[in-house]
Each structure stands twice: as C-alpha cells, then as structure tokens.
C-alpha cells in the first residue's frame, strides 16, 4: 500500500493571511526530506509507514516554531523540519527501548501455551511426597490404589486396617495437602 503523503494528512491547519507562506514553505520542506524520513523509519523502526506519524508531529512543531519568527526560506524550513523529525524519531526509539515486542498477536498460537515441563514438575512433586517412605508403606499405598478398602490391604499384608493406615499416615497427609483434601473429622 503506498504511503499517504504527510501533506495530505496535515494541512488542516488554517493559517492567517500573513502566515500563508508557512504552508508553501513547509510543502517544499516536506518534499525535500520525505524520502530520507521514510528511510529513517524503515531502518530505525523496521516500518516505513511510521514516517507519516513521525512527520505529522514534526510538522506540528515546525509550524509552531515558524509562526513565532519572521518568514524563512524552504532550505531553513527543511532543516527545521528535519530536526523535529529526528527529535521525534529519537523519542520513539527511547520509548521502544522500555518495551520488548515479540511479534504480533496474530503470530501467537491459537492454543494456550503449555509448559512443556509440566509432566516433569508433577513427577517431581510425587517423588518428593513419597521420597524416603519405607517399602512396606509404598506397597500398601500401591495396594490401596488398586483396591477399594484398607481392610483388603491389611488382609493382604497380614495386619490390621488401623495399623497399616497409621503407617501410611505421613505419606497420606502429604498427598492430602497436595490434593487439597481435609482428613476425616478434622
């Protein structure tokens, strides 16, 4: 898409008859520096279209400055406009340094980003919970995991349900805490 000329964007300013020279002088100044302004926007921001926005700010500042003084020639107006353009480009560069843009939202995947280490994290959790538990407790927990009642586990291990549950208590407490479950009656 061709870039709009800033002269099409910015000449809504109404000048009094004694300042109409500003309009003509600035038109010439814009034409003089426009190509360089586009190059600057492309090389410094990677986006040539930004030249229009930056130029609009520069034009506004140049108009205000020219209104204050006596009439000047197009060369001087070009220098002035060029300076304001560079000033605005510098301000934007500084502002951009505070932010890091990583592509646009269109480039983001449609699925929510998932932590590839999530399964590893979970494994670490359970490993930590059951770390150091005695073999009989491990086996009891596995049996309870495969069976519906502690009484069945106790029967298999040749002990009482209360006894095996007490021995598994520490591990159970940690798992409860991890899963957000309150113990019976507490």
């Amino acid at each position: 898409m061709p870039l709009s000329s800033p002269s099409n964007l910015c000449w809504n300013v109404i000048f009094p008859p004694e300042q109409e020279w500003i309009e003509k002088t600035l038109h010439v100044a814009i034409k003089t520096i426009w190509q360089r302004a586009r190059n600057t926007a492309r090389t410094q921001f990677g986006d040539e279209s930004l030249a229009v926005e930056i130029m609009e700010v520069a034009i506004e500042k140049a108009i205000n400055r020219l209104k204050e003084g006596p009439p000047v020639g197009s060369d001087e107006a070009s220098l002035l406009l060029d300076r304001f353009y560079a000033q605005e480009a510098r301000r934007r560069r500084k502002a951009n340094r505070k932010l890091t843009f990583l592509g646009s939202s269109a480039e983001l995947p449609s699925n929510p980003v998932q932590n590839p280490l999530a399964p590893v994290d979970s494994a670490i959790d359970l490993d930590v919970i059951l770390q150091g538990t005695p073999p009989e407790v491990r086996l009891a927990l596995l049996l309870r995991h495969s069976r519906a009642r502690w009484s069945e586990v106790a029967e298999i291990l040749g002990t009482s349900a209360a006894s095996i549950r007490v021995r598994c208590q520490r591990a159970l407490k940690k798992i409860r805490h991890r899963l957000g479950i309150s113990e019976h009656g507490k």
Binding site: A118, P119, S122, A123, L126, D127, L130, P135, R138, L139, L141, L142, L143, R144, H145, S146, R147, A148, R149, W150, I156, R165, L172, I175, R176, L179, G180, I181, S182, E183, H184, G185
Partner: protein, 107 residues
C-alpha cells in the same frame, strides 16, 4: 430496604472456589482424587518404564505374589496408563466377585 451484595475478596474468594473436601476413614476421596491426578498429570502413551501387563494382572489378582521390584517401585503412581489398566483389572475383579457371590459354585 436495600441489601448490598458483597463480593468475596482475598482468602474468602479463594476459599469459595476451593471448598475443603472431607474424606471418610477409608480415604476414598483421597485415592479417587489421586487416581484422577495421575490420569491427568502422568500420561505415558509410549509405556516407558511400565511393568509387564502380566505383572499388573498378577498384582490385581494375587497381590501377595508381587513385590515392589516387580512393579518397578512406585511407577504406577507416575503412569496414567498403568493406573488405567489397574482400574480396569479392579473393575473386572469386582464384577467377577459379585457374580461369584450371586451364583456360588455348587459343591
């Protein structure tokens, strides 16, 4: 009279969204949740490090004959596939038990 609705904030809001669940003496809720947790968090479609299916079946049918080493220690707690297989075996075993109870073998 106007009754103002106060939105819960801070701890109250958290408590509202995470109700404390009370378990029974059999720890049914704990093991149900643990089962769901394993099924969600430990997918292992390639069956890496799984014990032999025969070992799982033996563990379900005659657990006294199976040791921790046969089960590869706590692998089942870190494997959705083994947990699923164990759930199926348990279901089958309970079904068989129920059938046995309703139709006892003729002496």
């Amino acid at each position: 009279m106007t009754v103002a609705t106060v939105e819960p904030i801070g701890k109250e809001a958290v408590a509202e969204h995470q109700p404390i669940l009370h378990d029974d003496p059999n720890d049914t809720l704990l093991f149900e949740k643990l089962q769901k947790y394993i099924l969600t968090h430990y997918p292992n479609p390639e069956r890496i490090g799984c014990p032999d299916p025969a070992v799982l079946k033996k563990f379900a049918d005659t657990p006294r004959e199976v040791g921790l080493a046969d089960l590869k220690d706590l692998h089942i707690f870190k494997c959705a596939e083994c947990t699923r297989a164990l759930m199926e075996l348990r279901q089958r075993r309970e079904l068989a038990k129920m059938q046995e109870e309703s139709h006892p073998p003729i002496p």
